[in-house]
Amino acid sequence: MQNTNENFSFKKYAWAQFKKNKIALVCLYLLFALVILAFFAPYIANERPLYAEYEGNTLYPAFANETRTDSIYNTEGEFVQVLQYDIADWRQLDLESVVWAPIPYSPGGMDRYNRDYASPSGEQRFKNSEGEIVDIPSKFRHKLGTDGIGRDLASGLIHGTRISLMVGLVSMGIASLIGIILGAMAGFFGDTKLKMPRIKYWLTLFGAFMGLFYAFGQRKYVLAEAFGESISSGMLQMFISFVLIFVIIYFFRQISKLFQFRFLQKETNVPIDTFVSRGIELLNSIPRLLLIITITAVVDRSIWIIMIIIGVTGWTGIARFTRAEFLRIRSLEFVQAAESLGFSSVRTIFKHALPNALAPVFVSIAFGIASAILIESGLSFLGIGVPDDVVTWGSLLNLGRQNLEAWWLIIYPGMAIFLTITIYNMIAEASRDALDPRLKS
């Protein structure tokens, strides 16, 4: 410990270490660029103009709700037409002045004049406002080409950024929630440290059983109906079910205090570490891609369900790291101090121990995001689980595989996937080296 500086902080040290790795730093900036691209995707690639003057009306079509419908009156107050934003052909309108998005195509929009794989460098056609078919003006060129039904590749790639970032975020969000909680409990309590009176243990298990019964058995039809309505109302009912489970378990734990027999109040160990470790081992022994494919075969096709499945099957690495960190931390002085001050286990775990255990977990999350994106693009490459109308990098690459002449459908989406995965892997590796020099290899 040569560094006795008062201002020394681990975060600063780790950041300084991270910055030394120039490639990783570049990757971090690229990641920010990707996030910005994803965030502003509807304004970067959109077939509706950002700004348009039409018959004296100022419109901002790209920023409006796409189902919006306007009745347009000209400057004299005469009715011109009803403008439906999503089906209007903006390029055919007689606009007085217009600002197009940098890529004037939407990901799902089909350009019928450039069907059948229009090459980026080849001839492309365009219908101008007089209705004549002409050579395409450079503003409207499909700079990365189109697919078989005339969808613009550049637009698809930019909107695909959103999906790939969402996949990483949502699935690893779920995975880290499960992994951190289970790993922390397994590592902190081990097999012997979580003690509770026998009756409390039994009643907790009974409460969990009753909770599951009321929350999922009893509410089965409520849940099914809500999910049938929409994902969000289904999620709300799901949340209510989870709250119900916790309330019921709490109720039974409180009841256990009523039994004051010595036999029932005897302390027993809860082997929580064994449970978690076996669970990890089990999930690890199933080939993950096959598990995900098997589950997608029996559920509806939806990108959200894919994300949830990737998350639910991907927590084992995070749990293992969290557990290992907690095993180390739980014998350190500050945790023992927290315990001897009489803090509850929950407070000790989440407020004192967890912030000090997060560094290696962060690394495993970053690797996890890379593999989540890899799995999702692999699935959409195979056309499994992801609906056909959702444009993702993987599904674009699949179109290229089916028609090898359209090399742009292979190179560009493939590079997008490859770069994103490399960025995450690079950041993960650099931060592993920065956060824990012992692991450096």
């Binding site: 059983f209 009753m210 019964f213 009321y214 058995g217 009893q218 089965k220 039809y221 076996r278 081992e281 089990l282 022994s285 199933i286 080939p287 891609l289 096959l290 598990l291 494919i293 098997t294 589950i295 997608t296 075969a297 029996v298 890379a370 890899l374 693009s377 692999g378 490459f381 195979l382 056309g383 499994i384 993987g394 690459l397 290229g400 595989r401 090898l404 002449e405 090399w407 292979i410 190179i411 493939g414 996937i417 490859f418 995965i421 490399t422 892997n425 690079m426 590796e429 290899s441």
Partner: protein, 492 residues
């Protein structure tokens, strides 16, 4: 050692059971009715035939063979209102409907009365003979009579499957109208009335509280899970004896389909893994030996990039570059043999020679991913070993550098690599779906892919279960090998 092995095997068994349970849970949640799928695959479909007694009988036998009339598991957790005989109802949709009705009303007796009255109605509906009616009353037209009767039959069918209150009321109204308008349907009046009273009785007498009390039912060994896993000693042999069921696609036994395909996938993955070991171990040793040199840094970066390349991208790129008339047409695009030239009587050597050009691109795709991964593991393991005391001792006593590295360090650094070997078994059965699909190799991967596209659930579940089992066995073998190679492990 023996104690360790025993302990390891003992933890292995519950894991196998857990995998079979997960597979079973997924399989019973598969949408659709297996009997319909199977009879469709067998080819006895068609609306007229479907209604005929023969087809119904076949379906019933199929249902029995599949064990669909059995309870699902050894025990079930339901509520007090539910019946423990519900599983005997054959039709999947009827079952779901009755379950929901019971849940809504808590009155199982009322529900079963309602159901049997509906079935009675259906029976008396079947007695209606349009031709007879027309011959008795010449004013009637055969088509209109048929239409009315069919309409009525349709309403009964949908009543059996829906429990939504508004829909049911609507159906009742339609049926009453039909009976009122057409005198020849008067035969159905009494049973229809009976159905309606049974339904109102059912909801007049709800016992909702019963649905709030859990109940556990035990069924013993006669259940679907047991049948699936162990068979019944007669027509079903059970999973553990190699009976995996019947494919929905072509009604072939799944074990036969798997045996036909597994060889290709297995040999491919074996070659690929062998090659990747062959390349990665020297690379790993070299970069560890020259740690932090320019060569090591360059190699690490290349390996890192290879590691981040998705295999489906690499495969498609290779096709684009080397199997494409526009670029270089060095290799065939797909398959593993040329059907016009291939002769099954060829010797093994000739077959291999013929297949070689087909297999080069897939093997490259197969190999590069695991080779990048393995080299990285190898390098870390080697670095770890080289800094140990006994290596210093070996050097200190004057051994040559090559002897130190290849004889003392290598053996110990190979340990982590054993684990990876466990992955071969599941690769063979699951195949590498992506690679086989890209190169159209007729192995297990394509088989699984087709099964998914065609919703062939028995196949999917079988592959899932088998690869789970094989991975577990692979881990077990790897762990035992570990313990043999490194005795310290069994003393932990």
């Amino acid at each position: 050692m023996f104690k360790y092995a025993l302990k390891r095997v003992l933890t292995f068994i519950p894991m196998l059971i857990a995998i079979s349970l997960i597979a079973f849970i997924i399989s019973i949640n598969a949408p659709g009715d297996p009997v319909e799928r199977l009879s469709k695959a067998a080819g006895n479909e068609g609306s007229a035939e479907q209604q005929s007694g023969a087809s119904k009988k076949i379906k019933q036998e199929l249902r029995k063979k599949l064990g669909l009339d059995l309870p699902i598991f050894y025990l079930s957790i339901t509520d007090l209102a539910s019946s423990d005989t519900l599983h005997r109802i054959q039709d999947k949709y009827h079952k779901a409907n009755l379950e929901e009705l019971t849940h809504k009303s808590g009155n199982w007796k009322g529900v079963s009365d309602y159901y049997s009255s509906l079935l009675k109605l259906q029976k008396s509906h079947l007695k209606i003979n349009a031709k007879k009616i027309v011959s008795n009353d010449s004013t009637l037209d055969l088509n209109t009579v048929n239409e009315a009767a069919n309409q009525f039959g349709f309403e009964i069918g949908s009543l059996l499957e829906t429990s939504v209150e508004e829909l049911v009321a609507d159906k009742f109204k339609k049926m009453n109208n039909l009976v009122a308008d057409n005198t020849y349907l008067s035969l159905l009046k009494a049973p229809l009335l009976d159905v309606q009273t049974k339904r109102s009785d059912l909801f007049a007498n709800t016992k909702k509280w019963k649905t709030y009390i859990p109940a556990v039912n035990f069924y013993g060994a006669k259940n679907q899970y047991h049948l699936w896993l162990f068979g019944n000693g007669k027509e079903r042999q059970g999973l553990i004896r190699g009976d995996f069921g019947i494919s929905y696609i072509d009604s072939q036994p799944i074990q036969d389909k798997i045996w036909q395909k597994v060889g290709i996938s297995f040999s491919l993955s074996l070659i690929a893994i062998f090659l990747s070991y062959l390349i990665s171990i020297p690379i790993g040793i070299y970069s560890a030996y020259k740690k932090d040199s320019a060569a090591d840094k360059g190699m690490s970066l290349i390996l890192f990039i290879l590691y981040s390349m998705p295999s489906f991208f690499v495969g498609t790129l290779l096709l684009l570059q080397f199997a494409n008339p526009d670029n270089l047409s060095w290799f065939p695009v797909s398959g593993i043999q040329d059907p016009t030239l291939f002769d099954p009587d060829w010797s093994f050597w000739e077959k291999s020679k013929h297949r070689m050009p087909f297999l080069i691109l897939p093997i490259i795709t197969y190999t590069y991913g695991s080779f990048a991964f393995l080299s990285r593991i190898m390098r870390v393991g080697m670095i770890d070993v080289v800094s140990q005391d006994y290596i210093r001792t070996a050097r200190a006593k004057g051994l040559g550098e090559s002897k130190v590295i290849l004889k003392h360090a290598l053996r110990n650094s190979l340990l982590p690599v054993i684990t990876v070997f466990a992955a071969i078994f599941p690769m063979a059965i699951g195949g590498s779906i992506i690679i086989e699909v890209i190169f159209s190799i007729p192995g297990m991967g394509v088989e699984v892919y087709n099964a998914i596209l065609n919703y062939d659930y028995p196949m999917i579940i079988t592959v899932f279960t088998l690869s789970g089992f094989l991975t577990m066995i692979g881990y077990l073998v790897a762990d035992l090998l570990y313990a043999v190679v490194d005795p310290r492990i069994s003393y932990k």
